[in-house]
Subunit: 135 residues, 2 copies
DNA sequence: GCTATTTTGGTACTTTAGTATGAGTCATTT
DNA sequence: AAATGACTCATACTAAAGTACCAAAATAGC
């Protein structure tokens, strides 16, 4: 918030300053209009780049989840939900409690999930899923 | 590469176009200089933002491993090595084979590691380690 | 309605994982 | 030389994890 205000204040001041410079320069005839435009263009080009460099700091995970690959592997919604919970470090019992199902059900899902992912352990499942961009 | 060439071509053409427009407008006296500067500023502000949005797609892994945090948690070299293997999805037996130690040794390291990381499961260890930027 | 898939759950079993405890080796530090 | 810390290994045990096989609801699709 504060940064945004400062940024726009700076831009406004810069603009006003440029107005004055351009006016004086043109009336004096010392600098031609093309130079002024070029300078402004370059300045604001860099301001734009600078602005966008700051902004995407908040969100980092720009890895898009590959929904197609999930379905192509035949992974169902429930199985995927459990995969997420596994990656968060929960045990089968904990997952069952969170999803209001028994541990047996979770185990069944996990077992089916591993077959579809072609893995043997949950740590492997997490690693492979992240490689496949489905997590 | 192609994109860069296209981008700069577009910018050059835009600039030339703006030169012409500004010239005609000023000679005709229909538009004042302030408006032109403002328009150019806005246009190049967005060009700059657009340019920088495209660029950082190449590099992905900007997560620097926090070596200080590893030592501050008291995690030894061997324990860290095993942590890496865990995150790669290997079992204790497999890790032992890869590091030429017995499964017992791996278990001991894993147990000590979990205490230092304050976790109960290996999936939790991986998740927490990535949160702490030590993996 | 009927079929196919998903989701659910159970039992029984094998395999890993993880804890606790003790102990020996080796290199470094005091 | 003695203490320290890291690495090693073993035994014994408990607790999860994972497999196999089966079966009944629930849901989606035709």
């Amino acid at each position: 918030m504060k940064k945004t205000i400062i940024t726009f204040s700076m831009i406004s001041i810069s603009l006003l300053g440029l107005f004055q410079i351009s006016k004086y320069s043109i009336t004096k005839g010392s600098i031609n209009i093309e130079s002024i435009i070029a300078i402004i263009a370059v300045i604001f080009l860099f301001i734009g780049m600078w602005l966008n460099k700051k902004s995407p700091k908040e969100k980092k995970s720009d890895t898009i989840i590959n929904t197609e690959r999930i379905s192509s592997l035949g992974i169902s919604e429930r199985e995927y939900k459990i995969l997420q919970k596994i990656s968060e470090g929960y045990s089968n019992k904990e997952i069952g409690d969170q999803l209001y199902v028994s541990e047996s059900t979770v185990k069944t899902h996990v077992s089916n999930l591993f077959q579809k992912l072609d893995v043997k352990r949950r740590t492997q499942a997490v690693q492979k899923s992240k490689d496949l961009n489905i997590l």
